[in-house]
Symmetry: C3
Amino acid sequence: MISKFMPKKLFVAAAGAVMLSVPAAAEVSAETAYVFNTLLFLVGGFLVMWMAAGFAMLEAGLVRSKNVGEICLKNISLFGVACIMYLLMGYNVMYNGVDGGYIGTFLPWSADDAAATAAEGATFDANYAAASDFFFQVVFVATAASVVSGTVAERIKLFPFLIFTVVLTGVIYPIQGAWQWGGGWLSEMGFVDFAGSTIVHSCGGWAALIGAIILGPRIGKFTEDGKVRPMPGSSMPLATLGTFILWVGWFGFNGSSQLALGSAVDAVAISNVYLNTNMAACGGLIAAMLVTKLVYKKVDLSMVLNGALAGLVSITAGPDTPTPLIATLIGAVGGVLVVFAVPAIDKLKIDDTVGAISVHLICGIWGTMAVPLTNADASFVTQLIGVASIGAFVSLTSAIAWFALKATVGIRLSAEEEELGSDLAELGLEAYPEFGRGSQKLSF
Amino acid sequence: MISKFMPKKLFVAAAGAVMLSVPAAAEVSAETAYVFNTLLFLVGGFLVMWMAAGFAMLEAGLVRSKNVGEICLKNISLFGVACIMYLLMGYNVMYNGVDGGYIGTFLPWSADDAAATAAEGATFDANYAAASDFFFQVVFVATAASVVSGTVAERIKLFPFLIFTVVLTGVIYPIQGAWQWGGGWLSEMGFVDFAGSTIVHSCGGWAALIGAIILGPRIGKFTEDGKVRPMPGSSMPLATLGTFILWVGWFGFNGSSQLALGSAVDAVAISNVYLNTNMAACGGLIAAMLVTKLVYKKVDLSMVLNGALAGLVSITAGPDTPTPLIATLIGAVGGVLVVFAVPAIDKLKIDDTVGAISVHLICGIWGTMAVPLTNADASFVTQLIGVASIGAFVSLTSAIAWFALKATVGIRLSAEEEELGSDLAELGLEAYPEFGRGSQKLSF
Amino acid sequence: MISKFMPKKLFVAAAGAVMLSVPAAAEVSAETAYVFNTLLFLVGGFLVMWMAAGFAMLEAGLVRSKNVGEICLKNISLFGVACIMYLLMGYNVMYNGVDGGYIGTFLPWSADDAAATAAEGATFDANYAAASDFFFQVVFVATAASVVSGTVAERIKLFPFLIFTVVLTGVIYPIQGAWQWGGGWLSEMGFVDFAGSTIVHSCGGWAALIGAIILGPRIGKFTEDGKVRPMPGSSMPLATLGTFILWVGWFGFNGSSQLALGSAVDAVAISNVYLNTNMAACGGLIAAMLVTKLVYKKVDLSMVLNGALAGLVSITAGPDTPTPLIATLIGAVGGVLVVFAVPAIDKLKIDDTVGAISVHLICGIWGTMAVPLTNADASFVTQLIGVASIGAFVSLTSAIAWFALKATVGIRLSAEEEELGSDLAELGLEAYPEFGRGSQKLSF
């Protein structure tokens, strides 16, 4: 019987000088590793794609019923736009020939590699199927765009939002992504962002922040005497469902960002990432629950949901190095940050409909800066350079895009349309025609 | 150190004529391939099973609140019926001894193979665990039945619908499936249907079409002066959620239809399928959005959702051969088709409650006919023969089943029951007892 | 060309006595098995984590709208509490040094093993990454706690419930888990509980039963003249969605409880488990549908959903040994049991808000006792000892915990708070502010 734990090298001394190093049965073969790596991308990809549903449900739950249909439409259509733009140019801007610089090439992604590999019968040079890599990368782009839709909800026009999404997913996101993941100057400098606290979440967060400022607050959100008027979301169970979906999708987001499953070392690393991702979410939600109870006397469910997401964003820059307890604490700090960031942003009279700036931008920065606490390869200075440079770039380019849209097609619904709700104004339907405000208007 | 990229054959010349081709360490071993293939079926299987939830949510969102409970019940119970019928006879009708013919054997599926493999300690002759294959196949059957439930919703009786499901999943679906996937006459002729545009979606679509004709439209849907009265769905976020669920489930539906993950070539093929599936959905939804905006001035969310599904159905017959851009276009054509098919079917006074005929039948045909555009192994004539023969068979057998049910137990709710809603009529409950129409009737 | 079906041993006779058994190319290598096993835990883990969303949606759909926000909060926060407690002590209480006894050690789980494996470059001694094992185990704990939240819904206070969850997940669940899965006295005796009919579901069920008794029924549930007042859930589609989520998550729950995917034998076993799990759910739902139709004349959707869950709980103790038809029947018995258990528990004036005692406790017992029917390694006596001892232990410790909470912080909302609803009482928000009862109170 051959043991499963053979020595890795066997030598046959026979007929004089013949010395053969036979294949090591204990190792993962090259083709097996190729399949594992590809599988990791595919499973991670469908999990991250599923996050689009999470954003849709979270935002549908947190807006008022008169805007629920449009927020559903925005979330599913931005996914379509993001995938098409990334195919047409984004991927190659981000990954093709960056070489330590700032930008790749404006070319459509091509399936040539994949086709070639299939035709030749697997050379394994790439370590994974090209299309699986594209599929995994493309769903991240949509995540960045989903962050924006929540913040600017309830008063932005549909098509200008989608045009902004075209720019964000085809140009802005890929360029700053190229700096790090495309092998650009930030990665050469030693910036660390495992799965995208900065590159995905802060990127979306900055674009959302600039959008919210340029767009202005919803009518009635900030009263003249300086008060903030709460505008409660229409469905807490949908918001909860969205949070759960994002949570489960995040295992793909962070776990598959290890980029390889072809060895035991990779399997261990991914397992640590899964566990830390889970614990950070737990830390964020428990922290937000306790803090809202202490500060406001009552627990705020929407804040608890945002606390879980804050934990997830916070761990995303470095889910591979902390112990699970430290990961819980990193998430908990994120959860506390969100509880105080939401009213602080309100104080600045910036209207963030679902709290996405607090969750994705503030905690994205926190998570990125927290990496050196557990990762010796990272430095605070380099992390700060990454955060600041990407923040400046995304803010500037987003501002140009938002202002250009405002000056041309306009970005904001009229006051009447906003009052009526974007569903009736732009879609000509209601999300819940038989109940909510709709029940007074239609009969069946 | 042994490189992971060893040549596939190593020759040992020793002691004269001994020439040994040692196992290639770079390859996937037979047992590893067995595990990979099985894993592909299991992951694909749970993703496709999850599509049942997608159909349930989509249809629950698109019917009026008085019928939401019953549509939930139909969707979960048809899944139960489909699995049991496929176990009792469907699988063997479809796969056991078809041999180029028209039908297999009416025998229950047996776990003998699986048990034998386990007992003998893996001979690998089957390349995958028998039960994983059954599990993957059975969830497709339910998909075909789910197509029907949406079209005939809001006026069909529960148990007659379930009896039809018994016939569809135990007899009709398996017989036409045997022609192609069971190795029957269509597959010998060279018909190509990778994951079931025709065999699953059109099959369900034909059964739905015949059902809708025999059942007649909902009361008030078509007015005497020839107008079509819109009956908006009760919850757009649930319909959106359902679409997202179907989308993510479709990665299993199409991806695992490669039927093997035991080599790099398979991994590449599945990756292409994932990517093309995703892009076709994007194409379908963006096309439907733009066309409804152009034609109707306002974007129609339910049409956009159906557009995404149309893209998915359209690519299902051949997700393995197009480039991603071509896949996007194939999906986009599907999205456009749906926008015009829905009102066209209305014109024919056929009442398709959720638009399933347009999505699954029309786009199933389009997707099947589009295969030869990118697949040299397919021909338009053979594709047409497949579409027509399956269409004729399913229509005829469905008509017999529907008429037999109509003549015996009856298939339609009384006018009073339909007015009251199927929830109160057949379930004695309301889906939303505290709001919607229920809020006027019950107090808590 | 090297065949994929080589004999497992090849002998080279060369230069006299040199006899080499070369690595068997047909086998799974040790490192490949390590990756497969770890992957099984990760995929199973995210599926079971997803079940937390299922419980949240099921319970949100089955409570009245005035308590929906709080039940969402409880379900997501109990998951956080469970993971943190299991990390701090639960895992080691259950798995560290039980050695045939009753309890492990009260120590935090440490990632040392994982780190060591990563550092050393994979010794494979563990067969899987330590963190993947923890991740898979931790999501089961949350399941047990989720069972409780449904039963005691609509009248329990938030923080006392969470304190109970701390005790349940940190102490009670791990101790009884140690008896079997930790290698304690029950496992030495030959008790069989594959994935936790007793250890997870009955454990949660006993804790829920005791909680419901000590807490008392909701105001108005049982009238003075002995009638049971129905309190219909607020959203049937959410309850249906929750059931589907639990169903799909159960493939991870049962399937990955095989604990290994590193061989064809394991792949076959997991496939059988998937199939049997699915068939048992089908059996349970169809049986519940038919029985409610026969007994009550109308089909009860919430009972059908509970029937599917009953089937799943029933098969969980032994999903590996029955044929699929027997699995269907085991599930069907569970479905029938639930239909009669729910009114029986009502008769005892125990108020189980969502029917969780019937589903998880009654069917957990049934499933455990059914194991010897198909598994020769199990005996009725030993199964009964396991059921009884765990029942006694969990009931006793739960009673102590519930009484201690009742005597100190109190566990029940005041009558006014209960009437108002826990959302307004404890969260200061409404789940559906624009419709349902909220629509009479708030204006937008």
